[in-house]
Symmetry: C2
Subunit: 412 residues, 2 copies
């Protein structure tokens, strides 16, 4: 009954990775501390000796991961110690998003500050995957040059796509983009590298856009909200499920397809091949059609809808009410199933939240069995339309923080 | 930034609980070992000394938690060591289930063997909660006497109820039973204790029936299936969501209400106050009504339906096809959301699985976006109609195994 893990000689492993563990431990503490901790506070909190803490912190400072600040003067005896915080001048993360009607790019430094951000609006459905990825690579090139000009080094990229992405970065299916079996890493290999190569860190991770947007909300929004459903309303509708601060990915990473929850089982045909999917009632095109805005330019649709709704346009108000009700039916189903207390409306739903939250809340109150004992908050996302790109860049930054040795021991 | 947990003097705690930790560690190893391990194997697997292992194992044997078996003779040098396994003669768990049309009781010993089992069929909707709990207490009394006659001691009870149960054992709402705010522990206090009191172990845990049935499936069914959706079809329909071997309970413990997923948003009114809930299309009464079996005695309905379906009765076959399609619509939604690869049909669905699995599978294939890359198995549950009672008793047994000190240090 003994397993290899039980009996392997662990001593050698421990020895080699001790520095790595301490670097990650202290950097992680510094990253989550509510105010810049001193070396002494880090020693007290971790049980490491002050000498070890100082040596490790010196490595982190030398490698551009941590910086030291003078404390605010205060009363009382003794000189206050200098505080440590994440550096905004070293490695950074590149986030990209490909969606049906836009491309977005974003650079976050280690502190989480946005250092570069751009959105390129275009209907990408008639564009081939290779051409779309070439456009994304162009945006990445500009971002990298801008970051470089600011003294930052891109240490990895994440790309958000509205579809099913497997562990190798192959987009199995993105119905609204018309993608099927698109090998993103292979197609991007035709372009210059998007970022520096840092051994031990992935150069590119491809991930579902709602999942990355949900991570963005987790790390940027209310720190007390660590369990929630993030609904990303675009042309398609995706969801990211965050449970206890962890993204729930499902057995094969294909979770969150809320857009294909049937709200009228034999209703409108859907691009997925099913019928009556939520997307066909509450996706951006369904709302535009219901509001009588067919044939419209895809760019800025949510803003246009919000303007019309604010002006009292009856067709737009009716379209949003209908979409909100359909969304509420699906969300009520999810809450009945998962007993979540927070639902975040993101993507194009965020600027429309004023009109969507009431019908969603009404359906939840009406349909959720536990509503009387387990109230549900429905609210707009903190991040805007490029939430997935911000979340993508943030996921890169978090990987750097989790494995500082990779960055510190890179060549050059 | 240091927290009390960081700085508390841990030495005293460690000292006091070392024996407790070793008892639980070794008992846990013995419980999950594929074949009875020897003392030497336990020492090798845990890193404890042979002397410590022997002392702890002696305590476990002396307390009736573990027993020793002679090994099967084998070739080779040396006398084979005696193996250790869970004892079937010491503490046991009591499981109870209250459902709309039956009460079930079950006793499991530490090895997981069923030592007592009874089902009492009756329509409990006209019966008050207090009277229903009195019936359950009566069944428990018989079970306790029978267990006692077999030399077993009941060391705790769990009660399954088809509804929303809070952490204090109050049934907030069980719509099909007509229960609302029923304080089960308070009502049961009017009866003699169901089991021995063992300080450190709860005497009674009240839990949702689908959750307990899902745990029963987890611990009794295929050991390779640790992530699945368990759907419990009774008069109501509940679900237990098991992720990586852990029951997912939700923010307040109210997860799994699949019966109230809307399958036709403005369809049949439901007892919950909503409309078009799955229960109104695929619950036991909906199936009976669709099969033309109104006014029937509630007892044995699934068996009757199975007999009629096996005989080719067109109305019954059509009713099961319709229910299976509605169930498939809801299950497809859950799989789209959670990316699960196994769906287990339990309760009255188990004997009807032959007719329900095809339409459920058809809807899943048609509606699940990832179906081509992430195949979903839909199968009947391993346990029968009293799965929740078995799962309830099993949950008690697992608590005893997790905290052997409670049992070993009890008075008397």
């Amino acid at each position: 009954m003994s397993t290899p893990a039980d009996t392997a000689p662990a001593g050698a492993v421990r020895q080699a990775s001790l520095r790595e563990i301490n670097l990650a431990l202290l950097l992680g503490r510094i990253a989550v501390a509510p105010r810049p901790p001193s070396r002494a506070e880090l020693a007290a909190a971790t049980g490491l000796t002050r000498a070890t803490v100082s040596a490790v912190v010196d490595d982190l400072i030398g490698g551009g991961l941590v910086t030291e600040v003078e404390p605010t003067p205060r009363g009382g005896a003794g000189r206050p110690a200098r505080g440590l915080l994440l550096a905004g001048h070293g490695p950074a993360g590149l986030g990209l998003e490909i969606n049906v009607d836009y491309l977005a790019v974003c650079v976050l430094d280690l502190t989480g500050a946005v250092r570069h951000r751009a959105v390129h609006r275009a209907d990408l459905r008639p564009v081939s995957p290779a051409e779309t990825l070439a456009l994304a690579a162009g945006l990445a090139r500009q971002a990298r040059a801008d970051a470089h000009g600011q003294g930052l080094t891109l240490a990895g990229a994440a790309l958000a796509v509205p579809g099913l992405v497997d562990a190798d970065g192959v987009v199995r299916l993105a119905p609204n983009l018309g993608w099927r079996e698109v090998d993103v890493p292979a197609l991007l290999a035709a372009h210059p590298p998007l970022t520096e190569a840092v051994p031990g860190l992935p150069t590119l991770v491809v991930e579902n856009e709602a999942n990355l947007a949900a991570l963005g909300e987790l790390h940027t929004g209310d720190p007390g909200t660590t369990t929630f459903l993030y609904v990303s309303g675009e042309v398609g509708i995706g969801a990211g499920i965050v449970l206890d601060g962890t993204l729930y990915r499902g057995v094969r990473g294909f979770s969150g397809e809320i857009g294909h929850l049937p709200v009228h089982p034999e209703g409108h045909p859907c691009r997925c091949g099913g019928r009556g999917c939520l997307e066909t009632y509450a996706g951006q095109e369904a709302i535009l059609t219901a509001a009588g805005l067919t044939g419209a330019d895809v760019a800025g649709d949510a803003v246009r809808l919000a303007r019309l709704a604010a002006g009292g346009d009856p067709a737009t108000l009716a379209a949003l009410a209908g979409a909100g009700t359909a969304l509420g039916v699906a969300v009520a189903g999810v809450v009945n199933l998962l007993d979540l207390d927070t639902v975040v409306l993101g993507g194009t739903y965020a600027p429309l939240a004023r009109w969507l939250v009431p019908p969603v809340t009404a359906e939840v109150s009406r349909r959720v069995l536990a509503a009387a004992w387990s109230p549900v908050t429905v609210r707009p996302a903190v991040l805007g339309g490029d939430a997935a790109a911000v979340g993508a860049a943030g996921s890169v930054v978090r990987r750097i923080i989790a494995r500082p040795t990779a960055w510190l021991t890179r060549a050059g």
